[in-house]
């Protein structure tokens, strides 16, 4: 493998790093990456927009992802979704006006043994109840 394809091979790693740094992948980042790897802006955007954990739009400081797959739904994930909605006053897909939380629904996160479960950033929280939600969210500023 030559150097160019080795560098090109790091695109996803670079996008993940950019996302970690500024909570989303900006237009500027996409242009810069395209230039430095000598590939088209479209190719970079194509990768950035394919993966659900990468975002080309700004997000809140903390991202809540509630699992909406069957094992969690069977354990009343809908109640958890409703609690977060009530607690934050936003619907899935939205961000609070103070930029503290973005709220999303996601597919199976591999925590079905402690369903219903959710992720806040990289932390997994399981066996959720409405009461627990309030306490968990307080831990994220």
């Amino acid at each position: 493998m030559n150097k160019t394809s080795r560098d090109r091979g790091r695109l996803l790693v670079l996008l993940e790093a950019a996302q970690d740094k500024s909570a989303h992948i900006s237009r500027e980042t996409i242009t810069e990456l395209a230039e430095s790897l000598d590939i088209s802006i479209g190719e970079v955007y194509g990768v950035a927009s394919f993966y659900s954990f990468l975002s080309t739009k700004p997000k809140g400081r903390n991202v809540i992802r509630i699992c909406k797959s069957l094992p969690c739904l069977l354990k009343n994930a809908q109640t958890v979704i409703d609690s977060v909605r009530k607690e934050l006053g936003i619907k899935p897909g939205e961000t609070t006006t103070d930029g503290r939380f973005s709220f999303e629904l996601t597919n199976c996160i591999g925590a079905c043994d402690k369903a219903p479960a959710m992720m806040v950033n990289s932390d997994v929280h399981g066996d959720l109840t409405s009461k627990k939600i309030t306490k968990i969210l307080q831990g994220y500023k």
Binding site: S5, F53, L70, C108, G110, A115
Partner: protein, 397 residues
Amino acid sequence: MEKRVVLKNCGVIDPRDIASYLEVDGFKALKKALKMTPQQVIDEIKASGLRGRGGAGFPCGLKWELASQAKGAEKYVICNADEGEVGTFKDRYILENDPFSLIEGIAIAGYAIGAKKAYIYLRAEYHFLLDLVEEAIAQSKKKGFLEHLDIEVREGAGAYVCGEESALMDSIEGKRGEVRYRPPFPPTSGLWGQPTIINNVETLTNIPSIIFNGAEWFNQMGTEKSKGTKVFSVSGDVAKPGFYELVLGSPLRELVEKLAKAERVKAVQIGGATGRIIPYALIDTSLSFESVLGAGAITVFGENRDIVDIVSKTMEFLAEESCGKCTPCREGTEVMAETMERLVRGEGLKKDIKVLEELAETMMLCSLCGLGQAAPIPVVDSLEHFRGEYENRIRQN
């Protein structure tokens, strides 16, 4: 029958301390393998009858042999830790509790096929395990066990389809995780076009025990075509969800009723979103490659659950996660999801069942990868066993 082979060290060793792994014969299998020729290692794995634990069940030794014989400037080992199948969480448990057995398995695989580089592709949802796994690699390296092989962890970014091996390779190459046309298959042309083996976490975790104890020890467990044990992830309407390791060929009833303590079961989905739906009448089905297995996701549905609703949720998931490269899967999953949702709303039409069945056939025949080929299974199975529920929904309209 319960038996701990893969999970034998889970809860026994300290996953953050290699010394505790060495105390339980850790890395002795690698030492033994390094004294054998690579072909002898491959022959041992072939003789064991070990088949892939990620769902497809391809013979592991044969995969290794193909890669070992293939010509390439470099060769790669990839550990698939992108456990995205709905209801599967057993690889998480292995990584959390015994990363060393996995690393030893990868090290043996690398030696067997002549690879100098290995990747562990870890799903984004398991980011919290990254430090633990990297630390385990660093400790193994420091002890001199990885002189022949460099192991790097690459993280996914949230895409179910990347658990499919060709999409996974594209993702490691930094591309969109879209599946590839095959042939060529990965053992001859995989990562960056080089010979590559891709094995599931559980498959690789089996390797040290097989080399250490011998193929014969391993192939005495299980059925004719399904050797060894399998780790199951049980969730849904059960009193005791969690991890259970059983000898292959054990009855589904033992897992669901005896171990996970389910009562009044209506149906069980085996293998996640693209898995089989087994009605309670068939609860004595054996868990094996000959019968039904998948990656070991067991989702139990109680008596009061609505099958049409369950299948609708499953199709919604598959429609979202289809990579979109081939038409039968991209469009088929969408149409199925829309139809199922309409049925749930009580707006089903008489022709819906026929359309679903015809579409299922097309998708199974023409889709590019396992996702599209297996996506109609829940629809087909539920139509076979719970057709009345579909007809009731249509009658409501």
